[in-house]
């Protein structure tokens, strides 16, 4: 893995390699961004809004997003709802089981920073980014389905700008 992951980095430095890498990047990013399969993982209130988004009124499938029950088959994890200290270690395990490249969207105030349970609660983890890296934060309690979709569209923008070289040098670390 060590050498293979560095190929894009060397390739980019080679004469004319930049053009090749850029076009490969575009294809890869396009395919990644337009078929984000998310994991069916909800803990609290936001999970109900996530269900609504997946159902007929808002229809997540239009964005190429289909839910998967297993972390092994999914690229995206919505942390939808409050994460308690008891649950935090399990979320980390789930994240680690996902195949790279993987993305995380923190949905709702609770996942972003404890939400309404920030003060006076002895059990709630104050922000999911203390456990796993987060790409997009969607505030709201709970966010509307449109907000969730907007967050996904933002994530797609982010994926489209990704470079293979960055990614592989990250993972090589």
């Amino acid at each position: 893995m060590g050498v293979a992951s560095k190929i894009p980095v060397y390739l980019e430095k080679a004469p004319g390699g930049g053009i090749l890498v850029t076009s490969i990047d575009k294809i890869l990013n396009w395919s990644r961004a337009s078929s984000l399969w998310y994991m069916l993982f909800g803990t609290a209130c936001c999970a109900i809004e996530m269900m609504c988004t997946g159902a007929s009124r808002y229809d997540f499938d239009r964005l190429g997003m289909i839910f998967r029950a297993s972390p092994r088959q999914s690229d995206l994890m919505f942390v939808a709802g409050t994460i308690t200290h008891k649950m935090a270690s399990r979320v980390k395990i789930l994240y680690e089981q996902m195949a790279e490249p993987r993305y995380v969207i923190a949905m709702g105030g609770c996942a972003v920073r404890g939400g309404p349970f920030y003060y006076d609660s002895y059990a709630v983890l104050k922000g999911i980014d203390k456990v796993i890296p987060v790409d997009v934060y969607i505030p709201g309690c709970p966010p509307r389905p449109e907000s969730l979709m907007e967050g996904c569209l933002k994530l797609r923008e982010k994926i489209r700008k990704e470079k293979m070289a960055d990614w592989s040098s990250d993972s090589a670390k």
Partner: protein, 240 residues
């Protein structure tokens, strides 16, 4: 024989099923094509919190009375304030709403007497960086710049205080407001005479007192609110 029967009943079921499918084909789809089309949000919709400002002068309506901060169940609002030496009125120097812990419950809007804070129908505010979600005063005022709102009836005390100054808002008082204004001096004449600036200071300190203003804003509610719960305390505090 049974097989033949099964065969025909199977065909029948298939036809019925196809008929149902066909019926749905002609129907209008209920799906919202989100980025292209949006719902028109109802007026009461509780999305992102904004600070409203006066449409004419462009100044914030907020008088830094700290009521919303006290009403907030999650501690998402933080206000610092200062006193203007000329007008002797409080104004906010720092007004922060932490959208990460806000519950969007609308209690701040309900507690506000001055049309200063409002929950709007905006819902698109996801970010890549968590720290961007803590909105400061400029951001909140910017968001609230173009928000339309119907001004509420003001407490008579505030109205009396503003009569000396040129009317900031060109809104005509409606009938109910006049009712309140008429009733108010009869009930609590001492309040009108107090210096408005001092009044505001008191307000900020005693949240209980504030609710009297709220009650007086709606006379019919004030009647209901007189339940005998803390009635003595009411009197005691209003006597101060």
């Amino acid at each position: 024989m049974g097989m033949v029967k099964d065969f025909f009943s199977g065909i029948y079921n298939l036809v019925v099923g196809l008929f149902v499918t066909g019926k749905h084909l002609g129907r209008h789809a209920i799906t919202l094509q989100y980025p292209k089309e949006r719902w028109e949000m109802p007026e009461r919709s509780r999305g992102v919190v904004v600070l409203l400002s006066d449409p004419e002068t462009g100044e914030l309506n907020c008088t830094a009375c700290l009521l919303c901060m006290k009403a907030c169940p999650t501690g998402a609002i933080i206000i610092d304030r200062e006193k203007n030496p000329e007008t002797k009125r409080w104004f906010p120097t720092k007004f922060v709403i932490d959208n990460t812990i806000c519950a969007f419950c609308g209690l701040c809007e309900e507690s506000c007497n001055f049309d200063a804070i409002k929950l709007t129908g905006k819902y698109e505010f996801s970010v890549f960086d968590q720290s961007e979600l803590i909105y400061d005063m400029d951001r909140l005022a910017e968001l609230g710049r173009d928000v339309k709102y119907t001004p509420r009836k003001k407490p008579a005390a505030k109205k009396a205080a503003e009569q000396k100054k040129p009317p900031a808002e060109g809104k005509k008082p409606d009938e109910k407001k006049e009712d309140t204004a008429e009733k108010k001096p009869e009930e609590k004449p001492d309040k009108i005479e107090t210096n408005p600036a001092e009044k505001k200071e008191e307000k900020a300190e005693a949240s209980d007192k504030k609710t009297e203003d709220q009650e007086s804003r709606k006379p019919e509610e004030a009647k209901q609110g007189d339940l005998g719960l803390d009635k003595e305390e009411d009197k005691k505090e209003s006597g101060n």
